[in-house]
């Protein structure tokens, strides 16, 4: 799997103009179950909580081992929130949506902060 960019849902939401855009990078290692899981989970979370304002870059370290150094990747899968700053890292297959939202610092729909 080559690294490739995947614009989130293909359109930018004019209503979300005042909201931050999320620039995300997901590091995986090959087609392991955890990798596949992570990709699916991430799409699901983004579509639900960040519709129209995210961008995912997928990097397979098996193919591009040197890219692991740039973002200090040790564990995989690792999701890196590059924007908005500051940078955040979420490790794991992203099956724990609650923790993914905490990590991304995204307000869950309904306006309640993640600290519920």
């Amino acid at each position: 799997m080559a690294s490739h960019e995947e614009p989130g849902n293909g359109h930018s939401d004019p209503d979300g103009g005042d909201q931050e855009r999320f620039d995300l990078r997901l590091y995986v290692a090959g087609q392991s179950p955890k990798s596949v899981q992570a990709i699916e989970n991430l799409r699901r979370v983004c579509d639900e909580y960040l519709p129209g304002r995210y961008r995912i870059e997928l990097i397979d370290l098996v193919e591009h081992p040197k890219l692991a150094r740039g973002d200090e990747i040790v564990a995989v899968p690792t999701l890196v929130r590059r924007l908005p700053e500051p940078m955040r890292k979420i490790i794991g297959d992203l099956s724990d949506t609650e923790q993914v939202l905490v990590g991304l610092q995204v307000r869950p729909a309904g306006g309640v902060t993640s600290g519920e």
Binding site: K34, A38, E72, V74, A75, G92, Q99
Partner: protein, 579 residues
């Protein structure tokens, strides 16, 4: 993969464990060759104990000197910090990286910016490491404080399992690995127990401060399948990197020279059967002001006079003072300094710790490569550490000297009371031991020199008087008088007295001879008189005999007539008349 690694290791333990030289000075000596090749070694210690540096030097020496490229994964410091830190030790990481001999990968994991959201593994680390290893064809790997992953990634169970997999992978790849770990509480080797993955070799570093002097120590806590010293070995972090200082008795493998070198005093050479063997160590002990320094200076002087290089280390005097003071007894050290043959190094032993002193000594020995070294007053070192530490420091000092085949002369201050038992228990490391002793008599102090021992030499058992003249140090035969050994002016006086006595005896004998001759003449005269008297008496007797025989003839005739007339009676013969 772990199983195959284990099997391979297992068979080799039976024969001889293959080792990878660390290149760290002294370390390969105490471990009989270095670290277990192709296997992980744990280096643990408190923060600041030098464990990262150990790993770093292992890598740099391997890459630069031993043809084994390496990879450093550092979990604590940034690559820039690392480069800077080791640059002060003369290691040029950037250069080695540029030459494709080293990969430095600093892995920064900040727990505050990591959220755990599901199952993960450490494939990222594996991939990074594998990529780096392949990049330079690494044979060595250092994982500097990999333990931080335990706290950084949150899930200890996963990390533990993954580290197990990592070490299995490292062994499988045959990578000689150093893993550093922080010392845990209550004597635990590491905080997170990573020693469970490292069953082959564990090295413990320690940094102690006592009496304001810091000493670093290294101990091989475990080395499976290999002999190793179990002592704690002091080590130094010098501007040339790590330096472990093996205790001297570890290897007594110095070559033995049969060449004699002069002590600079012909009389002393004679006492020692022609000088001391090259590469041996002479200790001069004595109380204050006995001329120990002068003996040391004489040896140094003699070496320079032979055109050899020498080093004079003084813990008591500055070089200038020493030159001046030795000039007063006719030893001109200045010319040798000028000629570049003599290096002088003065240091207050108390200014630094013993360890750093040793480190600097080693360095000077390396730089100047002298053939004779004088250490003036090693007892000064005793102010720095405890007696045991000092002895061990002196022992290692001697080791540094002996291992290089350098002839050493060291002086030590003893007090007259315990003059035979050296204050520093190093006498067993000394080949030749000279003792200078003050003798007080007749309001004078004089010096006596003894050879207490001299290995491999038929040395004199005599005591000599040691005198310092303006032409240098000399030894003089002592005189033995009725009250024992006499020295100084008493010796001179005794000599005078003995000469007078001899003269008197000679006169006396002459007189006796004269008297005897006279007596002999007297006796001869008496004999002559007696003979004369005897002759007189003989003559007188003869005369008388003659006279008496005449009278007897007449009487005989008368008697015969008378007998005839009577007709009986025996013939009476006169009894006397034998002569």
């Amino acid at each position: 993969m772990g199983a195959s690694a284990k099997r391979r290791g297992g068979t080799r333990v039976e024969s001889r464990l293959p080792k990878a030289a660390s290149g760290i000075r002294g370390f390969d000596q105490i471990t009989d060759g270095g670290l277990p090749r192709g296997r992980p070694t744990l280096v643990t210690g408190a923060s600041g104990s030098g464990k990262s540096l150990f790993g770093m030097e292992f890598l740099v020496r391997g890459a630069r000197d031993l043809g084994e490229p390496g990879v450093l994964l550092s979990f604590e410091e940034s690559a820039a910090d690392l480069r800077q830190n080791v640059a002060s030790l003369g290691f040029d990481l950037a250069r080695l990286e540029a030459d494709g001999l080293l990969v430095v990968d600093a892995i920064h994991v900040d727990p505050s910016e990591v959220v755990n959201a599901g199952a993960f593994d450490l494939d990222g680390l594996f991939i990074r490491l594998a990529s780096a290893v392949d990049e330079v064809g690494a044979k060595r790997v250092v994982l500097d404080t990999i333990e931080v992953l335990f706290s950084a990634l949150g899930n200890e169970g996963v990390v533990r399992g993954e580290l197990g997999r990592l070490f299995g992978w490292l062994k499988d790849r045959g990578l000689t690995t150093v893993v550093t770990g922080e010392r845990g509480r209550e004597g635990q080797l590491t905080r997170f127990g990573i020693e469970e993955y490292v069953s082959d070799c564990v090295i413990v570093l320690d940094h102690r401060v006592s009496d304001d002097i810091s000493t670093r120590r290294l101990r091989v806590a475990k080395y499976r399948g290999s002999s190793h010293g179990t002592n704690e070995y002091p080590f130094l972090i010098t501007d040339r990197g790590f330096s472990v200082l093996p205790i001297t008795s570890l290897g007594l493998s110095y070559g033995a020279s049969t060449e004699r070198v002069s002590t600079g005093m012909p009389e002393l050479d004679e006492m020692l059967g022609g000088g001391v063997f090259r590469g041996t160590t002479v200790m001069v002990s004595g109380s204050a002001g006995t001329g120990k320094t002068t003996i040391a200076a004489a040896m140094v002087d003699a070496a320079c006079a032979r055109g050899e290089r020498a080093l004079f280390v003084s813990f008591e005097e500055s070089p200038d003072q020493l030159v001046r003071n030795m000039a007063s007894v006719g030893i001109d050290l200045h010319r040798w300094v000028e000629a570049g043959l003599l290096q002088m190094w003065s240091e207050r032993a108390t200014s630094y710790g013993l360890e750093s002193h040793l480190g600097r000594l080693e360095r000077i020995l390396d730089d100047t490569a002298p053939s004779v070294v004088a250490l003036d007053a090693i007892a000064s070192l005793a102010h720095v550490g405890s007696a045991g530490e000092t002895s061990s420091a002196v022992a290692r000092e001697l080791d540094l000297i002996k291992a290089r085949g350098i002839t050493g002369v060291l002086t030590t201050l003893t007090h007259d009371v315990d003059v035979q038992s050296s204050a520093l228990e190093v006498s067993s490391l000394i080949d030749t031991w000279l003792l200078v002793r003050n003798v007080e008599s007749d309001a004078e102090r004089n010096r006596l020199l003894f050879v207490i021992k001299s290995r491999g030499t038929e040395h004199s058992n005599q005591v000599r008087e040691f005198v310092l003249t303006k032409d240098g140090a000399r030894l003089v035969d002592v005189s033995v008088g009725s009250a024992g050994v006499v020295t100084g002016s008493a010796r001179a006086a005794l000599g005078e007295q003995q000469r007078a006595e001899a003269a008197r005896r000679e006169q006396d004998t002459a007189a006796r001879r004269g008297a005897l001759a006279r007596r002999s003449a007297e006796v001869d005269a008496q004999i002559a008189v007696l003979r004369a008297r005897l002759a007189d008496e003989t003559a007188a007797l003869d005369r008388r005999v003659a006279q008496e025989s005449g009278e007897a003839g007449l009487a005989d005739m008368a008697h015969t007539a008378l007998v005839d007339a009577r007709g009986d009676g025996p013939r009476a013969e006169p009894v006397q008349g034998e002569d």
